[in-house]
């Protein structure tokens, strides 16, 4: 997909779809959205659809940061307390490291 060659309406529609898609537990989609449309939204001369694209990018970025915070917190908690949780910890674990408590 070459953004250069897409008409602006299509770019807006694509950005919007990526934004909406990210609500399905897909922070990676939001990340792709931000990275892909960043140049379009902030570094290009203004065109009609640009403010909307900007707002989508900003919202995607906020959602992404939120998800990153949640995941980081959860991972930290899990890694730290996994051993102490005993059975629940094992139940939640996909792989259990060998040779440690």
């Amino acid at each position: 997909m070459n953004l250069e060659r897409m008409p602006n309406e299509e770019k807006l529609s694509l950005c919007r779809r990526y934004y909406l898609g990210g609500f399905a537990f897909l922070p990676f989609l939001w990340l792709v959205n931000v990275l892909w449309f960043f140049k379009e939204a902030f570094l290009k001369p203004a065109y009609t659809e640009q403010p909307q694209i900007k707002s989508y990018i900003k919202k995607s970025a906020m959602g992404l940061i939120l998800w990153v915070a949640v995941l980081t917190t959860w991972i930290t908690i899990f890694q730290h307390f996994r051993a102490r949780w005993g059975e629940v910890g094992d139940y939640l674990s996909f792989t259990i490291p060998l040779g440690t408590a």
């Binding site: 997909m1 250069e4 060659r5 897909l26 792709v32 995941l71 939640l92 674990s93």
Partner: protein, 437 residues
């Protein structure tokens, strides 16, 4: 690890040469995809799907240029394309070799086999082993041939929905199931604790964004990255589940089949390409790696680069013991397109079928498995790249669809066996006697 699931993808790729045309005649691209559709039925089967890429006629407009200049431009683009293909092929092989060297899962031989290679290789008797590997190869190749023919028939009778569905199923399988297996093994190797919620998030994101990028619209680089990753995953599965000798014989046989199917007038892939050309439409979404996406403006044909990067994969695998089936379609096509728009020379980039990626990586991966040191692996790697170069050169000369497998695989096989049996003992002796040359 689930031992009950094994999947095999097979696909054939061809690289097609696009015909460069002089300004007065319309140019057309020929794409050849060879994909082997594979289907797994209730038993074990490996479906192989082949997909063909159809190049639509491309109008090439140029201001009147003398032939010499045309030649020069062709060669210039040819050289650029060689580099554009080297990088993804190298990346794919690097991923496969890195995984093989670090994650032992993919080199552990299990007694599970894919359903496509039902004969067990008995390590005790050379003759028996050879016979069984040849039989395995015959089974595999016949599955592939059947799949290709089914694909051609489906295409001829315009069963597009079926083919699309097949492709989507294949990529789903690949993106979710195989990557899940892969991640599990990597975590086990590095002794990392991983919890289910995080894992589900990772796999879900990876898979869904992959499906979006490959089958719909996404950034080009991301699409290319996903295709490389998928090829690597497939190659790893092949490396794990194909028996030793069968793998080598299959590699050889697939190159021969590729050659026949693409170049013979009655070859299924050639027929597919011609049908697609007659209908003037792009071939169903075959998975092809495209190095550039150029929007065609003012082109006579409506096929656009969008559909270029799609891959079909068939995987079907059932373990001999467990009878698990999975289905995957694999399609490969390779093609190169040159297109010009109006007064601009726009390079459409090069397309290479995913099957080619996969089989190249299988060859190098197996060299990494069995070779004791890096000599063999590097030799095979270099051989494949040389073969690819030659294929692209031939493409520029002949300007029609060419199979990408035969030359590279032949070189790879020759280099592998000669390095393993001649060069390595030689180097070892030299090192043992501390004799430097």
């Amino acid at each position: 690890m689930n031992t009950s699931d094994s999947e095999e993808d097979s696909y054939n790729e061809r690289s097609a040469l696009v015909q460069c045309e002089s300004p007065t005649i319309p140019s057309y691209n020929q794409d050849h995809d060879m994909s082997l559709p594979q289907e797994t039925d209730t038993k074990r089967r490996r479906p192989v799907s082949s997909g063909l890429d159809e190049p639509g006629p491309v109008e090439r407009e140029r201001a009147s240029t003398p032939d010499g200049e045309e030649e020069e431009l062709t060669l210039k683009y040819g050289a650029k394309h060689v580099i554009m293909l080297f990088i993804p092929v190298t990346l794919c092989m690097v991923v496969v070799v890195a995984t093989i060297k670090s994650v032992s899962f993919y080199t552990e031989k299990t007694s599970q086999r894919l359903i496509y290679t039902p004969f067990e290789e008995d390590p005790n008797s050379v003759g028996q082993r050879l016979l069984n590997s040849i039989l395995n190869t015959m089974v595999m190749i016949s599955v592939i041939v059947v799949m290709t023919i089914i694909l051609v028939v489906l295409y001829k009778y315009r069963c597009y929905k079926f083919i699309h569905g097949w492709l989507i199923l294949s990529s789903l399988m690949l993106l979710f199931w195989f990557s899940f297996m892969y991640l599990g093994e990597v975590f086990k190797t590095y002794n990392v604790a991983m919890d289910y919620p995080t894992l589900v998030m990772i796999i879900w994101n990876f898979g869904v964004v992959g499906m979006i990028c490959i089958h719909w619209k996404g950034p080009l680089r991301l699409q290319q990255a996903y295709l490389i990753v998928i090829s690597a995953l497939m190659a790893l599965i092949f490396i794990k589940y194909l028996p030793e000798w069968s793998a080598w014989v299959i590699l050889g046989a697939i190159s021969i089949y590729d050659l026949i199917a693409v170049l013979c007038p009655k070859g299924p892939l050639r027929m597919l390409v011609e049908t697609a050309q007659e209908r003037n439409e792009p071939i169903f979404p075959a998975l092809i790696y495209s190095s550039a996406m150029v929007w065609m403006v003012g082109m006579a044909d409506s096929s656009n680069p969008d559909s270029a990067d799609e891959r079909q994969r068939n995987e079907g695998g059932a373990l001999a013991q467990e009878g698990v089936e999975s289905e995957d379609d694999a399609a490969q096509g390779g093609r190169r397109r040159y297109s010009a728009e109006e007064d601009l020379e726009e390079d459409r980039g090069v397309k290479l079928g995913l099957g080619d990626f996969i089989f190249y990586s299988v060859l190098v991966g197996k060299a990494a498995t069995t070779g004791g040191d890096w000599n063999t692996t590097l030799a095979c790697f270099v051989a494949i790249l040389i073969g690819l170069c030659l294929t692209l050169l031939l493409l520029a000369i002949f300007k029609k669809a060419l199979p990408a497998l035969p030359i590279s695989i032949t070189f790879g096989l020759v280099f592998y066996f000669s390095t393993d049996n001649l060069v390595r003992p030689f180097m070892d002796s030299l090192a043992a006697h501390q004799y430097y040359i």
